[in-house]
Amino acid sequence: MTFAAATREPAQSLYQPDEVTSIWQQLLADRSGLAGLIVIALFALVCLAVWLGLAGQDWAQAKGGRWEAASQTYWWGTNVLGQDIFQRSVYSVTVAFEIGVLVALSSGVIGAIAGATAGWHKNSWLEQTIVLLMGIMDSIPFYLFVAALAFALQGYAPFKQLAMQLAMIACFWTTTARLVRAEVMRLREQEFVQSAVLLGLPAWRVLLRHVLPNTSHILLAQSAIVFAAAIKAEVVLSFLGLGVQDGVSWGLMLAESTQEVLAGQFNNFWAASLPLFALLLGFNLLADALQSAMDPRQLPA
């Protein structure tokens, strides 16, 4: 790089515009990734419909009889209280998206900031502290941390409901942070970043405009992974009484079904597990496709 070129602030992204299109093209050409994207989009439409009040609004009303079979009024039968299982499952899509989006976004932002800070200030006390914090969070088993946090928040009303989500955020940011940290350490040594530093740009500006945009492939794939992990963990936590506190979710429906399957009632079980499987599969396929489309080092699967 000549000096004249170095005095101008370098281009924002390591990926040239045609490379970004090629990532999209690769993603769209990857049939399983595309299938994952379509499945997620369909669920997002259902979620939107519930938000707009077009579907799943009567999930809490108990109008039917106990354990009614599927019929024209109750598409997937009713539960023990006579509530419409189909509507409950549809409404649960929204609950899953609310949990997934909140956890994926929050842990992504925290992971990006912590990872970038640690990677940028290599060998400083700041990095040591962040790495220690990651080690601590990784040493406490997730389910026990949720239990501890739920115990701690018993007396604090607004946060009590969010104990599960807060615990997920507190535990899930570390993987993102580790990946971002390693990438930032690598990027730091690159010419375009070094020249931005030499131009005298403040560190936050270099990080925000030149370094973090180049970690977007990590952040995107991690978001898909964390989203899936969050809604998967919700099921087990709701069964243990640590998850969604009031309302409905696939986890609560499955918890309900654990009593019913022994009596031969399978509606709750299928109505919760089939959409949950489809959505998780969608996210897993998308995460795989994102990872292989954006990581040139990855061997073709």
């Binding site: 040493s139 406490i140 088993p141 026990l144 115990f151 099921v235 087990v236 243990l240 009484g241 031969g264």
Partner: protein, 322 residues
């Protein structure tokens, strides 16, 4: 002098690890303490009835250490973890240590077979997929593992229970309980939980091991061995597996505490098995602070110690990391 140099570096590295482990232990215990003792609900009234005299209240608060300064209470908590003097359960009045000593063997017996088989099957599938990399067997294994990864643990447990333990399926195994008195009854009760653990973990393991083996199989010395006419079996076991043993062992070591905790928590609660997971679940539902605190604190400390031991073991086993 020259001979001493690498040794002192090794010592410095070992000291550094020890320091890190100490900081980690202080960190995890501090968080447990903060969450469950400092910010946790006031335990005074769970211990005494409603109509207590102010004197009784003061006495209990003193016993609980509520009148002592913050760091002294934290110090006492640390001491209780290391002396295993964990106090009494608020819900049963039994020594926490006794409860843990009774339930831990049950959990180990419940989880270990599934853990070993899950890893073994994952290892074999990963090896097969890496060997046939890019061909139909690889695609089949990859598809199967992504599918099982998308099924919730709870769904697997319920489905297995329906198929194997109810009249709606084969009705071969008990739907609940743990009434073990010998090998045959042990196998009878452990079969379904083991199958559930295999199904949840084999997919993740297969994917992980496949990635490790594919990377290792692409190296120069493997190509050389292939050129010398080594059979696929020798190639995969002797050359690939041996060289990626470190990655394999690391995964096994680090996933054990996690599988032990999450596996026992769900399986024991679901099947009503009196192991550490059921004890923890009951402590959660009853708000039994001493028990919960002991489980969280001890597990986290054990996890740190295991990783420290693992690190030492690697150093001894593999001179490259010294």
């Amino acid at each position: 002098m020259l001979g001493l140099a690498p040794d002192s570096a090794t010592h410095r590295k070992a000291l550094r690890n020890l320091l890190q482990a100490t900081l980690l232990i202080l960190g995890v215990t501090f968080i447990s303490f903060l969450l469950m003792v400092y910010f946790g609900p006031d335990q005074t009234y769970t211990l005494i009835g409603k109509n207590a005299t102010p004197q009784q209240i003061a006495e209990v608060r003193h016993q609980l250490g509520y009148d002592q300064p913050f760091f002294q209470r934290y110090g006492q908590f640390l001491a209780s973890l290391f002396t295993l003097d964990l106090g009494v359960s608020h819900s049963t009045g039994e020594q926490v240590r006794t409860i843990l000593a009774r339930s831990l063997p049950v959990s180990l017996a419940l989880v270990i077979p599934g853990f070993i088989l899950g890893n073994l099957i994952g290892l074999l599938l990963g090896m097969a997929a890496a060997w046939q990399s890019g061909r139909w067997l690889d695609r089949l294994i990859t598809t199967l593992s992504v599918s099982t990864m998308s099924i919730s643990f709870l769904i697997i447990v319920i489905a297995l229970q329906i198929v194997l333990c109810t009249p709606y399926g084969l009705n071969l195994f008990p739907a609940r309980g743990w009434n073990v008195s010998g090998l045959s009854s042990y196998l009878y009760y452990v079969a379904v939980p083991t199958l559930a653990l295999i199904l949840t973990n084999a997919g993740y393991s297969a994917r992980f091991y496949r990635a490790v083996f594919v990377q290792e199989a692409g190296r120069e010395h493997i190509r050389v061995a292939r050129a010398y006419g080594a059979s696929p079996f020798t190639l995969m076991t002797v050359h690939v597996l041996k060289n990626s043993l470190l990655a394999v062992l690391t995964r096994i070591m680090f996933s054990l505490p996690l599988v032990l905790v999450s596996g026992s928590l769900l399986l024991e609660t679901y099947f009503g098995i009196p192991g550490i997971g059921k004890v923890t679940f009951d402590a959660i539902t009853n708000g039994d602070q001493p028990l919960l605190l002991a489980v969280v604190g001890l597990t986290a400390v054990l996890f740190v110690l295991v990783s420290l031991l693992a690190d030492v073991a690697y150093r001894l086993a593999d001179p490259r990391i010294r």
